[in-house]
Subunit: 426 residues, 2 copies
């Protein structure tokens, strides 16, 4: 029982890493050659280490360092206190978010984005101490496999000047269908999401129609990241009647989404107009969305994602899961959460297939896809182990790549000087 | 670590008990001479026992027995599975609730009322295994003392034919003020709730005014349990402008409460029109209430009460806590929950002072009031220990008292044959 009484937090190590990312096209540009993440190692006085993974952008790293200092001395079970300390620490980080009039007040969303990484690390440490998977600390697993969806992107064959990546080009309906077929063949996915918002809407409608023709039983989702006006959104929604499981963020903002929701035949989903708890009341009041894409990285960790799930269930909203480019610690956390979330009504998003198999920070073997689902790790904590050599390699890659903030638009402008970020574009 | 891997549930013991209750007057009659509770002992394969306390009415006991059988074989951390098994088990209990058209379907509220008792017992067992208080399993304590409010009742000096109880009569403003002064002197309460709905509204207005005059800094609440029409509610609310912290359940139902809310100057609270998760969406949509009184006994235990707290915080509702007549296991659970609920915005209700000090099922000494607050037990689990001799005594009292279902109205009719239950009465 030594470990259980000795779960005081004695230190936090934050290691930024970079891993290869293909040229995935989207509403604001194109993925840069490397995606950034930060790996959290939380040390406890019993000697156990808890792992977390979060965004690796420079501003976020600064917040992580301030918050990480502030939580030393607390206990891994003291989540309310840890979040309060994170909030206090962020109040001291200049320009901690865009909401603070003076930079001295942070919004709940900013606090949750920073707190989340530490919360997951605490749960990992607690689970290790208990000899139980993190899902047991979230109410217990209700499924032993968590379903994910294929996440299709329009893409170039390669980053400019680089060798073609293993996925090749996808710039038209045929390319998208080929990408879907390969992803299904390799991972067994039972649902498909297409990242849209890059080509004119009618071209993306054609891609969805091609997928629907070729894979008629496959639930399909289209996500243009708010690229469209509400009129365009209604047009696309009506054109795709019967073809989409849900339409994700066709337009920006709760009022616009509410207007679209009233005129399209499929449910609307979001990870843009409802991204923190304070957005829920207006979204519910206006009937803006039917489905929330949760994401523990910005909803305040796994415990607060369980809260979000309970809110969705209580207010008649469906629940799916959002993903950014991520590594294995995040996939393990997403899978533990998905396992312990009875309210999950849709297969979760993941960028996992876009990551090179030889680039990660965890020891391989635990997280594998079969029939589009990942078996829930049953080992203690998140169920994955840090590979320190791999961590060092990806940190060295971070050091060398010089990317410090994700900026798909700047990278696109570098390639195409005429490119402008415009929202809505159509 | 043996206990942590051995937290499988091997058996459940349910012991109904009865304890003395004074003749407390309310909207539907008067408290019977004995209040009923059920004590849950949950056995685990590691030998640890987890404690729970819940209602002791006959119909509830039948549900508890069905559910208790059904959860044997699960693990104390498998809360989602336990709740699902409770739901399944209740589907087999004829007339499990009034909502099931065929008796074969139970509402979420009925499931949560039964599930709650076992959830608390699981958390107690888990906390004991971890050597940590239950508050640590709820995100950690944010306060080391939980504030409660004095809970005043109109009352007779004694049950008919019995010796006067230690509190004496309170049937007018002077009696209520005297009761308040004594309760504050003995417990240090810093907030006062008066159970109303028994006398005509103007008489209860006078009682509140007397309290407000005599104890001008004391937050006051009035709870007539829906005794009034919406017109009467508005009249009382307007008369008591400036005197009440909140007005609780003046009238029945969400639409009526919403109508009153628009016309009275103080916030409305409820433990009647919002008592299960499915009531939250309509209450929020109609703006029916400003404050929810949570109660883990019917909101599905401590974890789901945390969910309720998060929902209140998200939708701008205040949070207080409701109480029925209860024993020490419940007070320990309420206090652990209150400690781990940052969202708690009001002192909690408790009937504790109405219980004889020599009647309980726990070993005395842990739960004591100072300055109106109970120190959060820091021992493992709930922090209280079962006194088996005391349990046997209160069970014997249950056996002899012959009360099997709380029925304040029937008891009142026995005393006053002309009495009729009428809602709204004024």
């Amino acid at each position: 029982m030594t470990e259980l009484s000795a779960l005081g937090i004695t230190g936090v190590t934050i290691t930024p890493v970079a891993f290869s990312d293909p040229p995935l096209l989207n509403q604001v540009g194109v993925h840069q050659p490397f995606a950034l993440r930060a790996v959290i190692e939380l040390q406890t006085d019993g000697g156990l280490i808890g792992l977390g993974e979060t965004y690796g952008d420079a501003a976020h790293l600064a917040r992580l360092h301030a918050a990480g200092q502030a939580i030393v001395g607390t206990d891994v079970f003291a989540q309310h206190e840890i979040r309060a300390r994170v909030a206090l620490a962020l109040a001291g980080v200049a320009g901690a978010d865009a909401h603070g009039l003076t930079g001295a007040i942070s919004s709940g969303g900013t606090i949750d984005r920073v707190y989340a990484a530490f919360e997951v690390a605490c749960l990992d440490a607690a689970g290790r101490a208990l000899g139980r998977p993190v899902s047991d600390l979230l109410g217990g697993a209700v499924r032993d496999r968590v379903p994910y969806s294929a996440y299709l992107f329009y893409k170039w064959a390669s980053h400019p000047g680089a060798e073609p990546d293993e996925w090749g080009e996808a710039l038209d309906p045929d390319g998208i269908v080929a990408q879907a077929r390969r992803m299904i063949a390799e991972y067994g996915f039972g649902a498909i999401k297409l990242k849209g918002g890059f080509f004119p809407p009618d071209q993306e409608i054609e891609a969805i129609r091609a997928l629907h023709r070729q894979l008629p039983d496959m639930p399909l989702r289209l996500d243009p990241n708010g690229a469209w006006t509400w009129e365009t959104s209604v047009h696309v929604g009506q054109e795709l009647a019967g073809a989409l499981e849900y339409l994700e963020d066709p337009t920006i903002g709760i009022p616009g989404m509410a207007r679209v929701a009233r005129e399209v035949p499929m449910p609307l989903a979001t990870n843009m107009c409802v991204v923190e708890f304070e957005h829920l009341a207006p979204a519910v009041a206006e009937g803006a969305v039917s489905i929330i894409l949760s994401d523990h990285h910005y909803w305040g960790g796994l415990g607060r994602s369980r809260l979000l799930a309970g809110i969705c269930d209580t207010f008649g909203l469906g629940l799916s899961m959002h993903s950014n480019s991520h590594l294995g610690i995040s996939l393990a956390a997403m899978t533990q959460l998905g396992a312990a979330t009875p309210e999950l009504t849709y297969a979760c998003d993941t960028h996992w297939p876009w990551k090179r198999a030889d680039e990660d920070v965890i020891e391989p073997g635990v997280l594998t896809f079969r029939d589009g689902a990942v078996a829930v790790p049953t080992g203690p904590g998140l169920g994955v182990e840090l590979d320190r050599d791999a961590l060092a390699r990806l940190h060295e890659q971070y050091r060398r790549c010089r990317i410090r903030t994700r900026d798909d638009t700047a990278y696109m402008v570098q390639i195409d000087p005429a490119y402008r970020r415009v929202t809505p574009r159509w």
